[in-house]
């Protein structure tokens, strides 16, 4: 489970990037965080991964405060970044092998890697292909595959569908639902309100560091989420 308790981040220059936000992502739940650029979505992720220390509050990962015990917390998070670049001179399998080992899974076999690559929809001929020849969509699939291999309770994804074509994005949604079915707590930051509506169990909207709205799927399906989101973005609702 991921939980933000009064999470706050003020940078040295005084900019308040995250302002006392609170949310929970439970086991078997997908939480989509919407917001414009600079709203504080990525900062929130960075706080959970302890890339930065919070000014106030707690980023909890399975009840472990990531700012107090970052290694323990990170052991329970799989992370997929916006632009999965990886090591371009390595093959897909070599990249997976390295990150699986960093994730504390040193015993996977070649077949295990191939099985996960099939699961994320990567073509067979790409398994031993070098990453430098991969499209963004293919690299994103490897990023997901690495997250699957880590088999952590919680998955954090930072804009994972940006730049993906509709087919790749649909495949991605399928994988995410499978992971949810396995009981993973999934936190995803995105601009893609339509995709969020499709598979999120809950949606949060961030604006200027504040969590201005949270809705469950039952609530936002009954409302016009696009309108609410645009109203927040355009400042019609504060």
């Amino acid at each position: 489970m991921l939980e933000a308790k009064d999470l706050t981040m003020r940078y040295e220059d005084g900019h308040l990037a995250v302002d006392h936000i609170n949310f929970q992502v439970k086991k078997g739940e997908i939480f989509c965080m919407l917001g414009a650029n600079g709203a504080g979505k990525t900062t929130t992720i960075n706080l959970f991964l302890n890339f930065i220390d919070p000014t106030e509050g707690q980023p909890l990962v399975d009840n472990v405060d990531s700012s107090k015990d970052p290694l323990e917390a990170k052991g329970n998070i799989a992370f997929v970044s916006e632009n999965v670049m990886l090591y371009s001179n390595f093959t897909a399998r070599q990249n997976m092998d390295y990150f699986a080992k960093l994730g504390g899974k040193p015993d996977y076999t070649r077949d295990d890697y191939y099985a996960v690559m099939r699961r994320v929809g990567l073509q067979e001929e790409a398994f031993e292909g070098k990453l430098k020849n991969f499209s963004k969509g293919m690299r994103q699939k490897i990023g997901i595959a690495i997250a699957i291999l880590k088999d952590a309770n919680n998955i954090i994804l930072d804009e994972p569908t940006s730049g993906l074509d509709p087919k790749a994005a649909a495949e991605f949604a399928t994988i995410l639902n499978e992971l949810k079915e396995q009981g993973k707590a999934i936190f995803m930051s995105t601009h893609d309100i339509f995709r969020a509506k499709t598979f999120a169990d809950r949606v949060g909207i961030m604006k200027e560091g504040r969590m201005v709205m949270q809705r469950s799927s039952q609530e936002f399906l009954a409302e016009d989420l696009e309108k609410i989101y645009l109203d927040y973005m355009l400042g019609k609702i504060d």
């Binding site: 890339f51 930065i52 990170k74 998070i77 992370f79 001179n89």
Partner: protein, 468 residues
């Protein structure tokens, strides 16, 4: 965990085009340097043997003791086999010295004197390749070690795991260093193999120890640039900035600091020119030579034989006088030369030490001093050889003067040919390994300190590095 990071780093590097390029270029350069170094050494050794044979021939052909005393004997400096790895100053300084009763011996006839083309192109030895080419490669291997991973997003992905930062930086340092070692080690071993293939080149146990220490020096030197690269890479946010900063520092350390140190030392501690010193010596020599006929005339006036005296008694007394006068004049010339030389050398040593110590800011200077001390091709070995000749000079002159006077026959039309059976020989004991190492030790320590400071800087910077 560390093992996985090291292995990844090694594999990532050796599978990159830059590694292939580095390896091929190093192999070509090092083998080329070994080939030219061996060729030069063999030519120098042949020339050395010819010079020795010619000197023996000339000594044997001396028509008289006077001629021998005037023309003297020639001492030739033997080439150093490790000059194939670090040529040092041996091509730029003189190799031959004439030892006679008059002049203060100096080493002249450098290789560059005999063929200035060598001076235009210089030597392509292993030390130069390591100093310039491999240090540049060390930078190219590390300039994006940290910042490049940040730009690619792989650092974020790695640190999203249960991986301590110190393991990442240590793993990267060890892995990248191993990758850099390969392009040096393999061609280096090939070069040594080439050296062994020539039957006329023999390396002693001491030479092998020196080679091992030189290799250690090369590694330390590359480690300095390597840790510098890591440090700058962990202090910047763009790999292009890191590369620019490192190239700037590289130019300063390799080219600017060593040259500037000499210029600064020249200003801070000036010394008289060699011409001033030589003119002082020449003036005294002329004064002595001018005074000799007068002294002879005075003696003759005081001791002119009167009628009835046995002329042979006069001749013996005259011989004794000349012997004493000759020895006295030679001793005075030697003493004056030694005094002038000592004063000059003392000032020169002071300036030299200042220049060397200032230039040690650059690891390139430390590498040069250390490698040349171990290869016995540096300033110290040259000065030791020159000093051995200066020590030999009074021994030779005393012997030849004594022989000259002993065999002086006032009545003979032709003076007797010299017999060289008991001629004292010049002896030179090359620097021992312990002495060479003691000489190289300050540079060894300087480089280790630089590595510790830079790595500690890189380590601390990475622990605080903003990976976002």
């Amino acid at each position: 965990m560390l093992k996985h990071i090291v292995l990844k780093e090694v594999w990532e590097n050796i599978s990159s085009p830059k590694f292939v390029f580095t390896f091929l270029l190093c192999t070509v350069l090092i083998i080329l340097s070994a080939y030219t170094g061996i060729g030069n050494y063999r030519a120098d050794f042949k020339e050395y043997n010819s010079a020795k044979a010619l000197n023996k021939q000339n000594l044997d052909a001396s028509p008289s003791w006077q001629a021998l005393a005037g023309l003297g004997t020639k001492i030739t400096k033997p080439p150093q086999v490790l000059g194939t790895l670090a040529a040092g100053i041996q091509d730029a300084v003189g190799r031959n010295s004439t030892v006679n009763i008059a002049y203060d011996p100096q080493l002249v006839d450098s290789k560059y004197d005999s063929n200035p083309v060598f001076a235009i192109f210089g030597n392509l030895d292993l030390t130069l390749i390591v100093k310039i080419v491999l240090s540049l490669f060390a930078i190219l291997f590390t300039y994006d070690a940290i910042v490049g991973e940040k730009e690619r997003g792989t650092l974020k992905l790695a640190l999203a795991n249960r991986v301590p930062r110190d393991q990442i930086i240590l793993g990267k340092a060890i892995g990248s260093f191993i990758s850099l070692l390969v392009p040096l080690l393999i061609p280096f071993l090939l070069g040594l193999l080439m050296l062994n293939l020539y039957p006329d080149i023999s390396l002693s146990g001491g030479d092998w120890s020196r080679i091992a220490l030189m290799f250690l020096f090369y590694l330390l030197y590359l480690s300095v640039f390597f840790t510098l690269g890591l440090f700058v890479s962990s202090r910047t946010n763009r790999s292009s900035s890191s590369l620019f900063i490192l190239l700037f520092i590289w130019v300063i350390l390799i080219f600017v600091v060593p040259k500037s140190a000499v210029m600064v030392a020249n200003h801070m501690s000036p010394i008289p020119s060699v011409h001033d010193i030589n003119s002082q010596k020449d003036a005294f020599l002329q004064e002595i030579q001018g005074s000799a006929p007068q002294k002879v005339a005075e003696w003759r006036e005081a001791n002119e034989p009167v009628d009835g005296d046995d002329p042979t008694i006069f001749q013996e007394k005259f011989r004794a006088f000349l012997t004493e006068l000759q020895q006295d004049l030679t001793a005075r010339i030697d003493a004056k030369n030694a005094e002038v030389e000592e004063s000059f050398q003392s000032k020169r040593r002071r300036q030299q030490m200042l220049a060397l110590n200032l230039s040690r800011i650059s690891p390139a200077s430390s590498l040069t001093f250390g490698a040349l001390a171990l290869a016995k091709t540096g300033i110290h070995e040259h000065e030791r050889f020159l000093n051995s000749i200066k020590t030999y000079k009074p021994i030779f002159t005393k012997w030849v003067n004594a022989k000259m006077m002993e065999n002086l026959d006032f009545n003979a039309r032709q003076q007797p040919k010299p017999v060289l059976d008991d001629m004292p020989l010049h002896e030179f004991v090359p620097m021992t390994l312990a002495d060479s190492f003691a000489l190289a030790l300050p540079d060894f320590v300087v480089m280790i300190l630089m590595i510790i400071v830079l790595f500690a800087g890189a380590f601390v910077s990475f622990l605080r590095y903003d990976i976002r």
